[in-house]
């Protein structure tokens, strides 16, 4: 033993949490929606989330998806509250910027689905940058 147990790298423990049945379902679902490779999303979560947030990820995600139903239609499709409050992948400030840009695209005449896809791409860029 050369170090204290509580000072060691927690990545392995965090990875073990993320690969359980329910967590894996959540990671796959987010990765699919945002078009991010699962492995990159897992790595990002391990680097940025603490252990309790990771443990609670499925409950937060399910709760966030339920709350999403009450959001305005465009924000619901982008996952504005889901990816900032429930699963905090990006900051509120970044999401505000993305929302403004998506609303601007719709105003310019872009179909709503295209604007949503562009919004999700922006979220992905923020996560992967």
């Amino acid at each position: 033993m050369t170090g204290y147990l509580y000072e060691k790298d927690l990545s392995a423990m965090k990875y073990a949490i993320l690969t359980s049945t329910r967590h894996d379902r959540v990671v796959r679902s987010i990765a699919e929606e945002l078009n991010i490779p699962q492995i990159k999303l897992r790595k990002w979560m391990i680097d940025h989330f603490d252990m309790m947030l990771l443990e609670n990820l499925p409950a937060r995600y399910d709760q966030g998806r339920m709350a999403r139903e009450t959001n305005p239609p465009l924000e619901k499709k982008i996952g504005a509250a889901l990816y900032t409050r429930a699963v905090p992948l990006i900051s509120d400030g970044e999401m505000e910027r993305i929302k403004k840009e998506v609303y601007a695209l719709v105003k310019e005449g872009r179909p709503e689905n295209d604007a949503v896809l562009a919004g999700r791409e922006m979220i992905r860029d923020v996560i992967l940058q």
Binding site: L5, Y6, L10, M13, A16, S20, T21, R22, H48, F49, D50, M51, M52, L53, E55, N56, P58, A59, R60, D62, Q63, A67, R85, A86
Partner: protein, 362 residues
């Protein structure tokens, strides 16, 4: 999550007031807590992995070993999940006996949680009184099931032992004594000026934050969310005219008071069960078969969910357990502890959420 702050204070993994090891890392500015993290990994059991591939007859015993404090509800939720999956009938007498044992388990768990809190705020007298009354509840649990913990009382289609007439009389008499003592201790807690100083307005969890973190059980009910009580959706509880306890303050005081009030509510539920207890069999028979189900029940700390997948022989192919402490500890470290103005309030706020590390590190 890393930021530059005045001081980073680790509390735990070994702390005299924590029942189990967990490390709370607080980033502070003076005594003011800016943020907190809880690190786990000191007692990971990997019990879900151990359960996979085993027959249900073994898994039912493993399930109640997830947690030593609320073992009855783990047993109950796992067995009821199997029963739902395989349409196994439970006789009325057995269903009510399950509720009696589950409520006794809830009572001892709540009293233990309140003991821990009183001990953490250094009110040792009240803490010891509470431990004493918990022993009386444990004695009743032992009288009915034959064991204090890991009772394995609930089996598919019924319960293991019947309640004898003399035991029912003893339980009724003892409940009256326990009720009197709990009411007395609750008033001591309510009226203690020093208790109020350490508890009121501290570790506040707002309803919005509780919703966001999906807080459950008494932690959520103390923040004005009575609807989170899973007992409201349980067929046997529905027949008992039960209404959940709720408060709106959302602070340490409210969480402890909700547990006191729930102990009294549990006594009422047990009395109603004893009054309604019909004569009849305690086992309806039935063998779990193949299926897949997600089933939830109300543990002492909140919603406990089991996802179970079995094959035709009743072997567990996949299982996933979502324990209430996962949500409550997360709500505690990211919402309640944030903004606490004294480091002395960190352990008490943490304990007020009744964190069960054994459940979390299942």
């Amino acid at each position: 999550m890393k930021r530059t702050v005045d001081v980073s204070i680790p509390i735990g993994p070994i702390h005299p007031c924590f029942k189990e090891p967990a490390r709370v890392k607080c980033e502070t500015k003076g005594e003011f807590v800016l943020s907190a993290e809880v690190e786990l990994g000191y007692m990971k059991k990997g019990i879900e992995r151990i359960m996979r591939g085993r027959p249900w007859q073994e898994v039912m015993f493993l399930a109640e070993r997830v947690c030593g404090i609320c073992s009855v509800i783990h047993n109950m939720v796992f067995i009821e999940a199997l029963e739902q999956m395989s349409a196994i009938f439970v006789p009325d007498r057995a269903a009510l006996l399950r509720v009696i044992v589950n409520e006794l388990d809830r009572m001892q768990s709540h009293i233990l949680a309140n003991f821990s809190y009183c001990y953490t705020i250094e009110h040792e007298t009240l803490a010891m009184y509470l431990l004493d009354v918990r022993e009386q509840v444990m004695d009743e649990l032992e009288r009915i099931t034959g064991a204090r913990v890991t009772c394995a009382y609930i089996v598919p289609g019924g319960v293991r032992f019947d309640l004898r007439h003399e035991d029912a009389l003893h339980l009724k008499a003892n409940l009256a004594a326990i009720e009197g003592e709990v009411v007395r201790y609750m008033h001591m807690f309510e009226s203690g000026p020093l208790i109020a100083l350490r508890s009121r307005g501290i570790g506040v969890l707002t309803r919005e934050a509780a919703l966001e973190a999906y807080a459950v059980g008494p932690t959520a009910r103390a923040s004005g969310m009575p609807e989170v009580d899973r007992r409201l959706r349980h067929p046997t509880y529905k027949t008992l005219g039960f209404s959940p306890v709720s408060r709106t303050e959302g602070d340490n005081y409210a969480r402890i008071m909700v547990r006191f009030q729930e102990v009294l509510e549990s006594i009422g539920i047990i009395r109603r069960c004893l009054d309604m207890l019909p004569e009849g069999p305690i086992r309806g028979g039935g063998i779990p078969g193949a299926g897949e189900i997600s089933y939830s029940g109300e543990a002492p700390r909140g919603e406990l969910s089991y996802f179970v997948k079995t094959d035709a022989a009743g072997r567990v192919l996949d299982i996933s357990i979502q324990t209430p402490s996962i949500m409550n500890i997360e709500a505690c470290c990211h919402y309640m502890l944030k903004g606490v103005t004294s480091l002395a309030d960190v352990p008490s706020t943490f304990v007020s959420a009744d964190p069960c590390i054994a459940c979390t590190e299942r």
